[in-house]
Amino acid sequence: MTIHAAPPVRLTPTDWRSSKMTSRIARRYAAERRFRLLGLGAVALATGFLAFLLIHMMSNGISGLNWTFLSQSDATDPAQVGIWGAFKGSLLTMVVTLVLSFPVGVLAALYLEEYAPRNRWTDLIEVSINNLAAVPSIIFGLLGLAIFLNTFHLPRSAPLVGGLTLALMTMPVIVIAGRNAIKAVPPSIRDAALGVGASPVQVVFHHVLPLALPGILTGTIIGMARALGETAPLLMIGMRAFIATPPGGVTDPATVLPVQIFLWSDEVSQGFVEKTSAAIIVLLAFLLAMNGLAIYLRNKFEKRW
């Protein structure tokens, strides 16, 4: 083989001190600074709004937070109203939602990722699930009204029906988050388990699911937090009634925190302004606790490899 000699080229060293180069470098530094400021501005904007909301609510509502408020239910006199009934209603609704949507969502995600063949039907299912996650919540409310109340005659205004309706809404979020988390488990781990003779179910439950769990839990809690703040679908199924006693179980009439806030904000009596803010503080505290739990669980189960 002949090697063609390269034509002689005179290499001139780059002059890093030329004015063109120095202005180039200056522009690069300026771009870095601009981006940094922009990012800082975005963070400041986001936290600023949250801080404003918190401070505003605190100044309006902190005086309304007392033992009566935390232990009583709705009443006609703003001095006597309490949040406990709505809080318990929210808690029961969330329990129903979680118990239904988590296992179904996780199993659906596992089936779609690990077992289902890739064809037109699974593509269609994938598109449908993504669509379902974006459907306005009021439509789920109408669906719940039509199916759970009119067809199955479940009790009106009950956390059971609220939970069922919100579970329909939360499930697609869990399926999507679950599929992403399952996809992120390296295939080499599946190969390793199959290679020592693990059956497909053992591969899923011994390896894939534990490794995907932090991601699934994060997605679940995001979905649950969204369900906790949901008002519209619960109005549709009658969880807006005036209820003066806290619910004893999932079939008792109840209301939930966001609906209670909505109802009180509509009251003409001056005393309810303070109580509305106080209820918002309770709702925010509940959300904060849920998100804190999400971060705790993620860190606890996260494994590195």
Partner: protein
């Protein structure tokens, strides 16, 4: 069967492949391959990238089943039994034909759990003490025991690459397989770690049939007794390693082992 030092040609066939074709969709990856795998021998599969040697290796424990588009034709037997017949239990097959992968892939669990996983799912240990014995024996045979015996409950992924690969070998032999498949087990390792693995293959050979895919012809020459040369999905030539390397019958084999291509 009497097996003595001076009867090296007395063959104990463990696995046979007859007229094996593998397709990925419409594309044929393996074309009419027939070969035997013997007990107490290391069989090296060599050939340029994309020649189908890894694909063929994965047909021997049906790991190709996990690829939806893959289709295998022909007959592969283990102790005379067709592994592609409907009566063959794939889970049991993979316990009998263990596998070590190209990239070390320990589970993100402790060293102990990595080795104990296989025996546990197959119910090979009756007690914690039994399991301790299996784990120690497997890690000793994998040449890793002395390095990890004081930190069995540390994560397997915290070990060095070479140690991880020996852990994977220990994990494979913990379920007492009869055949071990190795898919380029040293390609991600440095020369010292590679030497350790090769030494280990020498020691393990007496108890298993070992099939190793390698890119490295010196490695094939060092560790194997049988060599099979693959090219473009066909088995060009196979036989005793020393013959293949000193006296190849086919022009293509000669060109490859002398470094003309590949």
């Amino acid at each position: 069967m009497i097996h003595t030092q001076d009867a090296p040609l007395l063959k104990k066939v463990k696995m046979t492949a007859r007229n094996v074709n593998v397709f990925y969709g419409d594309k044929q990856a393996i074309n009419d391959v027939s070969i035997d795998v013997d007990m107490e021998h290391v069989t090296a599969l060599i050939g340029p990238s994309g020649c189908g040697k890894s694909t063929f290796l994965r047909t021997l424990n049906r790991m190709n089943d996990t690829v939806a588009s893959a289709r295998v034709e022909g007959e592969i037997t283990l102790d005379g039994e067709n592994i592609y017949s409907s009566s063959m239990d794939v889970v049991q097959l993979r316990a009998r034909v263990g596998m070590v992968f190209q990239k070390p892939n320990p589970f993100p669990k402790s060293i102990y759990e990595n080795v104990a996983y296989g025996p546990r799912i197959h119910g090979l240990a009756n007690s914690k003490a039994d399991m301790d014995v299996i784990v120690e024996k497997s890690l000793r045979r994998a040449g890793l025991w002395e390095e990890v015996k004081d930190r069995l409950h540390d994560s397997g992924t915290a070990l060095s690459g070479g140690q991880q690969q020996r852990l994977c070998i220990g994990r494979a032999i913990a379920v007492e397989p009869e055949v071990i498949l190795m898919d380029e087990p040293c390609s991600a390792l440095d020369p010292i770690a590679t030497a350790k693995i090769e030494e280990l293959i020498h020691e393990l050979r007496g108890n298993y049939a070992i099939v190793i895919v390698t890119h490295n012809m010196q490695q094939a020459a060092r560790v194997s007794q049988r060599t099979a040369f693959f090219h473009l999905g066909t088995l060009v030539e196979h036989g005793v390693t020393s013959d293949i390397f000193t006296n190849p019958r086919e022009e293509r084999t000669k060109d490859y082992i002398t470094g003309r291509y590949g």
